[in-house]
Symmetry: C2
Subunit: 136 residues, 2 copies
DNA sequence: CTATTACCCTATCGGTTTAGTAGGTTAGTT
DNA sequence: AACTAACCTACTAAACCGATAGGGTAATAG
């Protein structure tokens, strides 16, 4: 199940992408429009800024803004930053691989086999979608 | 992320499917082979029995056994019983649909759009895989 | 220069879920 | 009748999630 963090993060990115001009938007404005707790959203936007998706301007008239074109924002990257691994099992993950401690031989593990198939497919979808694709 | 419940459940089904004869297998034997806590596995197997995948025999020489052919056990059904919804968001689910309380208009929600695409694809994979497909 | 604005950071907390544990009960087999 | 293994209920520790509180800091307008 997708965490609210990821859901809110993508919603915020979408909100910014759908604006005409790219002037900074206050956290409170996004929070109000998308019905998100201000403080929680704050931490999410901060993370997205640290990850290179957003820029921030301080002081009066400040706020957050997209630093890249929506069509250049890859949803797989966004997902990994916000949610973590795309795979449903650590042993089926590329970027976050970890062996199972209960598994005798992961090469014949049926669960892993199935979850890797799911993973490959989900990854493909996320890689092939940009923010522009889902926002417009 | 997949719960251990689901992981253990599928591992147990696989273990049973891979046996030559279909004589009952004790919980403790499966638990030992797959490194699963006996009591936890017990509750999982009970659930799988109530859901029509397993049969059980009591008393000496008793245990659990597959009630259907592995090729007739659909992984989407197994997943839904053990893990719950396939969709990553309730608003993107068929069998467990629930609207988001924070969403203004779900028809234009970018997150939902993306998650429905993921859902459709994951569902297809699970529907097209039987226990026989992943066990052998 | 200074007050304001709004981002930035740390800490905490209640609620829920997860995984595992304990102990006893019931029913079938030998 | 004795034994065995599934069945059922209840409980607990730990982890995680979402939210909240409160203050610090930097940039900007005037």
């Amino acid at each position: 199940m997708l965490s609210k963090k990821t859901k809110y993060g993508i919603k915020a990115l979408t909100f910014l992408a759908r604006r005409e001009d790219q002037t900074p938007v206050q956290i409170s404005e996004i929070a109000k429009a998308e019905h998100i707790s201000i403080k929680f959203l704050e931490s999410i936007l901060l993370l997205l800024r640290h990850s290179g998706f957003l820029g921030a301007k301080k002081g009066k008239g400040g706020g957050y803004y997209l630093i890249k074109e929506p069509k250049d924002i890859n949803m797989a990257k966004v997902y990994r930053i916000l949610e973590g691994p795309i795979a449903l099992l650590p042993c089926a993950s590329h970027n976050f691989y970890e062996p199972c401690d209960d598994c005798n031989d992961e090469t014949i593990c049926a669960v892993r086999r199935l979850m890797m198939e799911v993973r490959d497919n989900t990854l493909m979808i996320l890689e092939n979608n940009t923010l522009a694709d889902i926002a417009f």
